[in-house]
Amino acid sequence: MRKAISIALTPDVALGDYVIVHVGHAIGTLDAEEAAATLALFAELAASGAAAGGGVA
């Protein structure tokens, strides 16, 4: 899917960046390192949850 968006609100954006789009405007850029860290934390928490056996399903 291709869509033209405005980057007037994210002047520092560079080619290859991921941005978050709201009503046709990029309102922020996505930090790839933080995204990877969050995913790693999910995996860690989920593993410790499963080990704790506190299942609800």
């Binding site: 405005s6 007037a8 609100l9 994210t10 002047p11 991921y18 978050i20 709201h22 009503v23 046709g24 405007h25 309102i27 922020g28 850029t29 996505l30 930090d31 790839a32 933080e34 995204a35 860290a37 969050t38 995913l39 934390l41 999910f42 995996a43 928490l45 989920a46 593993a47 410790s48 949850g49 499963a50 704790a52 056996g53 506190g54 299942g55 609800v56 399903a57």
Partner: protein, 381 residues
Amino acid sequence: MKYVDEFRDGTLARGLAARIAAEVQPGHRYQFMEFCGGHTHAISRYGIAELLPPAVRMIHGPGCPVCVLPIGRIDQAIGVALDRGAIVCTYGDTMRVPASRSLSLTQAKAQGGDIRMVYSAADALKVARAQPGREVVFFAIGFETTTPPTALVIRQAAQERLANFSVLCCHVLTPSAITYILESPEVRRYGAVPIDGFVGPAHVSIVIGSRPYEHFAAVYRKPVVIAGFEPLDVMQAVLMLVRQVNEGRAEAENQFLRAVTREGNLAAQRVVQQVFEVRECFEWRGLGEVPFSALKIRSEYAGFDAERRFGLVYAPVPDHKQCECGAILRGVKRPTDCKLFGNVCTPENPVGSCMVSSEGACAAHYAYGRFRDAREGREAA
């Protein structure tokens, strides 16, 4: 899609749910309000409510832009289109909100009003350039996420000296609404819902940053965790809230680190500051008049302010008598507590604003939650 699918993984969600269940303290109940309609939608759509242990209850907050728009403001937009012959441009969700005289913007369009749905504020500006002989009004609604694009078009219109373009500004502010939920006299009258913490909005926080919540968390002794819109983000935020409650902390924390910084988007804040200033008072549907909770256009840009241009006067209009949107927006009642829910009031034919947008508590429950109710009913029987 990258940065989306990974944050929706079902196995991880169950693992996170187990972690939350392991950390809730026996005999303790946790009630958290997700302020933002995007989270309300995610919680219903991905079945997060079912994944959470019974001790954790999510309360839907008033952060759905269409839901909090009062009838009187929609009446103004309809009036400008029908009585003043202006072209009114607005976001799609706004079109179906019920207003006075059994009208909505969609129905006013059917009666001959030149009302156009736009995807972006910039599209409204294009209409004004293409129709120099007509007045073009952008009916601007929403929280801090839609405000910067509106500021950009007003600044652009001023640079181009567009004489036929103006904005009916109904932009509202998140922090003042969150505060108002906890301290307004009406909320006390309705009976307050005990709220142990807040899931802070995702996109709004990208713009304003995490800092505005720090004062709130400290003063009201309520934990706030800013969360992304994906289901795993919400689950992790709930875990962080449970931990704050267990440890007796009340801090503003940020789960959405990949997009939200403490300072927020400064370029966006600058253009908003340049074009808008705070209104002393603004009516919210469901909350009533909330002081310092909305924006108006600065006098330097008065020529682009539809309220001044058309001499509009605001007249408040009460909601449908049996509609419970007010109590639902405050978290005091659930959609199923409303007599109109699902019979008289449906997404196809909404009576109240919470049924209009997919982010509204009633529409989200109608689309996803009522199947859960039906299943639980069968199991109980």
